[in-house]
Amino acid sequence: MAEITYLEAIREALDEEMARDPNVFLLGEDIGVFGGAFKVTEGLLAKYGEPRVIDSPISEIAIVGAAAGAAHMGMRPVVEMQFIDFVANAYDMLTNYVATARYRAFLPCPMVVRGPSGGYVRGGPFHSQNPEAGFIHTPGLKVVYPATAEDAKGLMKAAIRDEDCVLFFEHKYLYRRVKGVMPAGDHVVPIGKARTARDGRDLSIITYAATVHKALDAAEQLQAEGISAEVIDLRTLAPLDDEAIFNTVRKTNRVLVVHEDTRTGGIAGEITARINESCFAHLDAPVLRVTAHDIPLPYAPALEDFVLPQVADIVTAAKRLVQW
């Protein structure tokens, strides 16, 4: 089997699910004729035709709202935010309407909201964001954010089959940099399960998405200095895999949480609180965080790289943790 990119893995998942279930359809800006800003949906209009691949007006509220309405009626919409930054326009629809639908009105809302996310790409303030925290905070939504091509495919298939709304963050830095060989057959990765990206014994680095790769690079460097770092790739951010988090804490007793999102109100705070409440006796050091600065993401490479977490930051923090 040939290697395919993270981006191609997502397209393969969309293709397979559209072939499997006639209720699956795509809706978004420039996704049909043009194939999407990053070409994730390229070729799908030609294969499935216009009713199933819809080029929408520039209307994130309408895209998400229409997906919800169609989902109530038994369809399985997968909608694209051209950049995930623009999901802010649909925040009301997602948090007030979609997230509450099942609870307040027993309305099924099986839909996927996907979009290119994240920085390290010189995209500036509106093409680089990681807005996951606001949605993790909203009961009723599920949030996934894969780091590997295999997980990108398997989680997309799981998201489309889920009975509730899943926000699917795709890291655009990984789109063409990360490749993998897809497992044969119907490859579905369950939502809500973290994965051990690297085994270690001295500390645990808990992270997700692009910073999984930063953490793995850092672990390599730490290994050269005799420090064994375990890397946990969360994969799903809502619901969090508490068991996987607590297991690694009990194993290494030292935890570094890393994310590309800004610091205040980021998910690292939540993970730290859960460890504090459930695993305090297992800690040999306080939980530390490596995150972005609390700053809108700037454009110039020197500025962006300063704001975002880098491999060296993870190494520095890991050393501090093991020396505590």
Binding site: S59, I61, V64, G65, A70, H72, N96, A105, P139
Partner: protein, 381 residues
């Protein structure tokens, strides 16, 4: 696409679709309008007895627009009401018992105590569901959602139409704009009704839009537009039925503006101090939709007063019986709060300090008051 203005009057009676309804169906319209008013009056009584837990939203003076429009739909069609469309929900099959239980936050209400007032629905397959969708409080949001509902009709080739109500205030939202534009571009079988009742909470329409009339917006969206006297139930039916027929024939979206007036406050707590003196009284005296329709039935249709009295008496018995059932219904159990946020997992776990804790005392406190309502005085401040 064209937009036309149309004002009808009770007049001598024309040959529009409302006039052409057989008398039996005309009397059904009367039944639904009267039931709406009587049920709301019962809710006011229950509110004053503090049996309605939250706010109470009236549609006094707007019964014709809700009932006449929804009456133009078929059972398989889907309607999304606004807070003033209890009448439309009744027409579509919502029952007085359901509505009373909702307002009273009962455990076996349609939303099992999760949502307020008439925020509940029943949609899905044609025939198996009654076809009304539970609204949410952020205004305008139901327009994109109904665009999606009708998109599913189009994709599956189903012969079904959608109808969504918004108020004058919701036309100012982004959701309204995006939703109607999307539906127009996709040529979806959707009827969008703007109920222009003069006020969005306390804000008059002059502060909502610089457009001379809301129906003018139809031109901008490239959809059919029509304005109608919202207090003339037969004219409302006629206008809506033609829009529904167009949608069913594949002719796309219609934007209808119903001219009416909100004779009560935004909710029961609102003392309407912002309405110019005399305006409410004038509408009550000269333009009450039920009074007007009674005149049509009595004078033009020669319906004996006794026939209408019989309907009123039947409604009284129905509302009494529904009230008894709703009052006897249980409140939800506190732990029910944990159920059904997701399909999987089906329940959330209680926080550790609630595990096994005594929760029997929860839920006894009632809100002191909202806006200009003062619970201690049992009336507006």
């Amino acid at each position: 696409m064209m937009s036309r203005r149309r004002r009808t009057s009770d007049g001598p009676g024309g040959q529009h679709l409302g006039d052409l309804l057989p008398l039996e169906r005309k009397l059904e319209l009367y039944y639904w309008m009267r039931l709406t008013r009587t049920l709301e009056e019962r809710l006011v009584a229950l509110y004053r007895q503090t049996k309605v837990v939250g706010g109470l939203f009236r549609s006094l003076g707007q019964e014709a627009d809700a009932v006449g429009s929804c009456y133009a739909l078929e059972h398989r069609d889907v309607m999304s009401p606004l807070i003033r469309n209890m009448g439309a929900m009744l027409v579509k099959g919502a029952t007085p018992v359901e509505i009373l239980k909702q307002y009273m936050a009962k455990g076996d209400s349609p939303t099992r105590g999760r949502e307020l007032n008439i925020h509940f629905g029943d949609i899905g397959a044609a025939g198996a569901t009654r076809g009304f969708l539970g609204q949410i409080s952020p205004l305008g949001d139901m327009v994109p959602v109904m665009a999606g509902v009708t998109l599913s009709f189009k994709m599956r080739g189903e012969d079904r139409v959608g109808l969504v109500y918004v108020g004058d205030g919701a036309t100012s939202t982004g959701a309204f704009h995006e939703g109607i534009n999307f539906a127009a571009v996709q040529r979806l079988p959707l009827v969008v009704i703007i109920e222009n009742n003069g006020y969005a909470y306390s804000t008059p329409t002059a502060k909502q839009t610089a457009a001379k009339q809301f129906v003018d917006k139809a031109i901008g969206y490239g959809v059919y537009g029509e304005q109608v006297d919202g207090n003339d139930v037969l004219a409302v039916y006629d206008c809506t039925k033609r829009a529904v027929d167009r949608a069913r024939a594949g002719e796309g979206v219609s934007l209808l503006e119903f001219m009416t007036f909100r004779r009560k406050g935004h909710a029961e707590h609102d003392n309407q101090s912002y309405v110019p003196p005399g305006e409410i009284e004038l509408w009550a005296k000269e333009n009450d939709p039920i009074d007007r329709y009674v005149q049509v039935l009595r004078q033009r249709e020669k319906v004996p007063q006794a026939t209408l009295d019989d309907i009123d008496a039947r409604i009284g018995r129905e509302v009494d019986a529904a009230t008894d059932v709703a009052e006897a219904a249980p409140f939800p159990q506190p732990l029910d709060a944990l159920l059904g946020v997701y399909a999987d997992p089906p329940a959330e776990r209680p926080l550790w300090y609630r595990e096994g804790a005594d929760v029997s005392s929860l839920g006894k406190e009632r809100a002191e008051g909202w806006g200009t309502w003062d619970a201690s005085k049992g009336g507006p401040r």
